[in-house]
Point group: C2
């Protein structure tokens, strides 16, 4: 039986694979003169954030203030980019506290957020660095034109307590030329107003090996690259052997010769499909489909299921980041050896 000392369902993280993933993309970024700023949302573990920084990362990316707070609790991290519009008195007070502890940069895509940030930082000693978030085609947050980016940059620079520090985008993968064009026009529009663009931050694991195809970018944010997942294998970004996070599950019922039920459902694997069919890949059993999940059960289907009650399987989930967010702990392994249990420090930190 695999890992008899670990009760199931469990999230396993192979540190050998994760460290190799960290080092491989760090090398790629350095070869292309790009600064790497890993997004910690994938692992939510301070020890892996420190490992990324030790490998050469310039700092970390967090999505929420509470994630950053959790990352800083153990020390060793001194530079944080928060890629989220921060709004409201409660969050701004915590943001001010955070800014006294690390070199902090935030993003902003609208005037309401800009004015809130200025109100919070206008009376302080140091200006807060702010990047203008740009929608270069992904259709999420972000100003929607290069000229709008320059206008907001100007506004940030004019507001007390803030310093316009550059541009940030979560780009659509595979459209590097369009992203470069958008950002270059935004840099030019800023320059026309006399505004220096220190940082141009792009990111995304799906497009990581093409990071250098956006030459005006200075910095790359990637999260999932540390663990990888089924969605990235299907895209060709990595192979199964590069997947550091797996779910260990036990077969609890074999009702028919073509069907088995495991003790991992949507509360572990999540319902994220990312455009795929099925909810994960059973290692060494590519013939099995994880065809449905209820909260605590997963249904495996194959022509001949060939599993017995009590057997264990290891699953590469569709999306590693969301699986990290489901349980309070992960099991750190190296190959077949169980090394430690780690609390997931930033799990559920959505504030």
């Amino acid at each position: 039986m695999m890992f008899p000392e670990i009760d199931t369902p469990a999230v396993l993280v192979d540190l050998d694979i994760a460290e190799a993933n960290i080092d491989r993309f760090q090398t790629h970024c350095e070869q292309h003169g790009i600064r790497l700023r890993p997004h910690i949302k994938t692992h939510k573990l301070p020890r892996l954030a420190r490992r990324q920084i030790a490998a050469g990362a310039i700092g970390i990316t967090c999505q929420k203030i509470s994630e950053a707070e959790a990352m800083l609790a153990e020390g060793g991290i001194s530079d944080v980019l928060l890629t989220y519009n921060v709004l409201g008195a409660a969050k701004l007070a915590r943001l001010r506290a955070l800014a006294t502890r690390v070199r902090l940069t935030v993003v902003c895509d609208n005037e309401v957020v800009a004015e809130g940030l200025s109100d919070a930082f206008g009376s302080g000693r140091m200006a807060l660095d702010v990047l203008v978030e740009c929608d270069t085609g992904a259709g999420r947050c972000g100003v929607t034109s290069p000229e709008a980016a320059a206008r907001l940059a100007q506004r940030l620079n004019d507001l007390p307590g803030l310093r316009f520090a550059g541009l940030m985008t979560y780009p659509p993968a595979g459209r590097e030329a369009a992203v470069q064009d958008w950002l270059a026009r935004a840099v030019a529009a800023c320059a026309a107003r006399g505004l220096r663009v220190d940082t141009v931050s792009t990111g995304g694991t799906p497009g990581m090996w093409q990071a250098q195809e956006v030459p005006c970018a200075t910095e790359y944010r990637a999260g999932t690259y540390i663990y990888n997942d089924r969605s990235l294998v299907v895209r060709g970004t990595c192979g199964w052997k590069d997947c550091a996070l797996t779910v260990l599950a036990t077969v609890v019922s074999v009702p028919a010769s073509d069907r088995a039920i495991i003790d991992a459902g949507s509360k572990v694997l999540t319902s994220d499909l990312l455009g795929l069919s099925g909810y994960g890949h059973v290692l060494e059993r590519p013939d099995i489909a994880i065809e449905s999940l209820s909260e605590e059960h997963g249904t495996l289907r194959a022509e001949v299921i060939g599993l017995r009650v009590g057997d264990r399987v290891r699953i590469v989930p569709n999306h590693a980041c969301v699986v990290s967010n489901m349980l309070d702990r992960v099991e750190l392994i190296r190959g077949d050896r169980h090394e430690a249990t780690a609390p997931v420090a930033a799990r559920g930190r959505v504030w």
Copy 2:
């Protein structure tokens, strides 16, 4: 602004609505002579489990041992049905500990689980009550024929430390006649072997108002009925006013006149679709579609979005149970009044 004292994203539970939901279905069950055994997976809060018992429930249903442990921590609960195949030494040891603290019943659908239970309880003072789990059409766990149910019932009765206590099924909603037929045949097959069937437990919120249409059932398990959700409104099981759980979110960006971005993504609302289109219902704005979620962002779309940065919205999620599992705390409200913050005791308890 709604609930200015609550930071977003937040999960709100309106206790007035939840209590009315508890009482309404309790009354329905009593009118039809059915025992109600609520599934606590929906709320994961000991105080609401106690409220369900105070209203007349015979006990609670849990899916995992860790859920039951969390429910018992505050006392006041004395009867637990665990509707899951329990396997493995670690879990069986915890099951034995649980059995000393409450009247415990478990389920089983195969011999491997039966033998494990017998090994764990065979040397104890008291026999463990076990229900045979039956697949009456939902295609998840369960023996697949009435005769197989009777065979396993016999085996349970023959094994040391166990007592066959009846049948349990998670039935397919809307097929009550077929479920009744299946279960009646299983009861008859047990009777033919001289086995008394004390309990016949069915369940499911979607079919709750038809519980009495399976006359051989003695007990009904329902979870979601306490909160309700968008999937149940769409099915016609309840109305929007009966939805006790909502997600409070803030608009963080309005990039276009037809689109707004909120600070609740899949880490709050989850990716559960339950066959629906979109990820929830914005209260008082039926024209808005929650068309996509990333981990921390939700994208709202409407012909005229009519929202400003900083506005708040309340969302009825597709599936309440999985939302309860995402955050460590919920905000208890009554109407417009914030009453308390409650830790979600059984959140993430999948073991």
